[in-house]
Amino acid sequence: MPIADPATGPSPAPSDPAIEVEGLECSYDGEDILKDVTFQVGRGESFFIIGPSGCGKTTLLRNMVGLNQPLKGTVRFLGKPFSSADIATRRMQLRNFGMLFQGGALWTSLTLRQNVSLPLEEHTSLNRRQIEEIANLKLAQVDLGGFEDYYPSEISGGMKKRAGLARALALDPAIVFFDEPWAGLDPITSRKLNALIRQIRDTFGTTLVIVSHELDPIFSLADRVIMLDRDNRGIIAQGAPRELAESSPDKRVKEFLHRGSNTA
């Protein structure tokens, strides 16, 4: 396992992992980005994938959720193989996921309610009224009550992101993936999103995997982080963010986690 941080060392593996990634090798546009990436995420854990731009954070996330096929290695969710599973098994497992994309990725031809309802229509046997009620609840939970009949083009970027989160939570997934959820948001909206993510974790014990390089949420939300590096093409440190910030001997880790005054 390519952990180059002797001070912190690898964090103890969770006894009941929600996600197990082993020997993952990923490429982007034919170029090898990550090699031999191995880590585990415990159930109910807030797990951050951090690192500077271009180090392969989003590539790793896309390979984990099956949007890209890894060159090598395995990904297991809730004890069951995912990356090597057949399409039908994958489809069943996808019910356990929710994903918030950078820009929200809402379907522009559908209203917010229809956006949130679609996963429920596809994966549950609930009737239309119940689906609408749940969609309204999810939108209210992300503070978008009253905007159910709006189209994505009629709302702001921050609202799109929250609507995307409501859609990701529609099936009450065991694991939610976030790709740069705070990118492009103002501090107040960022803080609201922080509180929302914390509420999701605390209420349902949801496992959160978050790609980010924002320091505030890393220190306030993360139980554990892995840091990727472009030159090493893999993990250069993993552990609790405060421990890494205080005791990592790696200059890159310290520099990354000591930007600004948030860690002071």
């Binding site: 004890g79 522009t108 749940i134 609840l137 009550g145 009450d172």
Partner: protein, 375 residues
């Protein structure tokens, strides 16, 4: 590694104490799985009170809230007191949130009444017309600026577009033009043969292809191929704020994006029409040789005698006009596109429809004008 075990299914166990029905929720409640329904749990029982508990509950999600809400609604309807005070606090909190969202709110109507619809359509048409006139005006101004500063013109983009709409269109133009020439020749052959006037197939094919079908078919192909591509490209650029970035830099999107495309189409369309004419005549020649046994040399001599330079010029003038109309429609609709994926799709469709409509209208106007001028 722990062996995954089958989760316990969601269940609702009931027992009666005096007049009170105790409902204990247990197992794993997942929204994608089956769950108990309140009407079935209650069955024929008619308790005075109901108490819902979840002491031994496993993992749960929104599906349990649906059940409790169903139970409360059912009890309320039957005048039964429903106690949920023993449920976990988080569950009660979410139930409160859920019940708050069930209150009917004002629905946002996207549809309008007739009068409003007519008014909005009129306002939209006016805005659209103003947009078209403004766009045409800017294009004329841009073209007027061009001779004064040719070094500022995007020659590289123009050449790229010429290759894209000219050379890259040759295969499809060849196929369509050949088939059109072939079809006209067949239709003419059937009639002309009855009068022993087989050789005049060359006249019919030559004139109809050179004056009408060559430029028209090339234009329709380019409207679908290049006009749509212009609209999609510019629409995407607008959605990605690339057009805004040009304007903020003080660059005119017309000079930067529209004029190179217009010039490329204006130059390539007559060449494509000329090429389509040749291929169309070739198609006719194949039918004449194969069906009517007319030698190729005789067919060619008859074609030359039927077509004069004015016919060719009429076709080329039309083709240049069609090219400009396709370019203008594609660029206009692209720049008018809404900033969304659906908006880009609509702009593309609209560009093709507008271009074909304008081509037909222009063709009709030219027919009248050329007739009046004796061309």
């Amino acid at each position: 590694m722990p062996v995954p075990t089958e989760p316990a299914r969601a269940c609702a166990a009931t027992r009666t104490e005096g007049g009170r029905l105790e409902v204990d929720l247990g197992g794993e409640w997942r929204i994608c799985d089956q769950r108990p329904v309140w009407a079935e749990v209650l069955g024929a029982q008619k308790p005075e009170r109901v108490r819902i508990t979840a002491a031994g509950i496993g993992p749960w999600d929104t599906s349990i809230l649906l059940f409790v809400l169903e139970a409360r609604a059912g009890c309320r309807k039957s005048g039964i007191d429903c106690d949920i005070g023993s449920l976990p606090e988080k569950m009660r909190l979410l139930l409160g949130q859920f019940e708050a969202t069930l209150k009917p709110g004002a629905k946002r109507e996207h549809g309008e009444d007739l009068l409003t619809t007519v008014g909005l359509a009129t306002a939209h048409a006016t805005t659209n017309l103003r947009g078209i006139l403004s766009f045409l005006g800017e294009c004329v101004l841009g073209a007027a600026r061009f001779p004064g500063r040719p070094h500022k013109f995007r020659w590289g983009d123009c050449l790229e577009q010429m290759q894209e709409c000219g050379a890259m269109s040759l295969p499809i133009v060849s196929l369509i033009s050949f088939l059109v020439g072939l079809t006209i020749a067949y239709q003419a052959a059937v009639e002309l043969r009855q009068f022993g006037a087989d050789i005049f197939v060359a006249d019919v094919v030559g004139l109809s292809v050179v004056r009408e079908m060559g430029p028209m078919m090339a234009a329709v192909i380019l409207a679908g191929r290049t006009g749509a591509s212009f609209a999609a490209t510019l629409g995407n650029m607008k959605a990605n704020e690339e057009i805004d970035a040009l304007e903020v830099l003080g660059l005119s999107p017309i000079d930067f994006l529209v004029l190179p495309r217009l010039l490329a189409l204006g130059l390539m369309m007559p060449l494509l029409a000329l090429y389509a004419n040749c291929v169309g005549i070739l198609g006719g020649m194949v039918v004449a040789g194969g069906v009517l046994q007319i030698p190729a040399s005789a067919y060619w001599v008859e074609t030359q005698s039927a077509i004069d330079l004015s016919d060719l010029n009429a076709g080329l003038i039309k083709a240049t006009t069609f090219g400009l109309l396709i370019g203008l429609s594609g660029c206009l609709r692209g720049l008018q596109a809404e900033r969304s994926a659906a908006g880009v799709g609509r702009a593309t469709t609209s560009a093709v429809v507008t271009a074909i409509l304008l081509i037909i209208v222009a063709d009709a106007i030219y027919a009248v004008v050329f007739h009046a001028m004796g061309i």
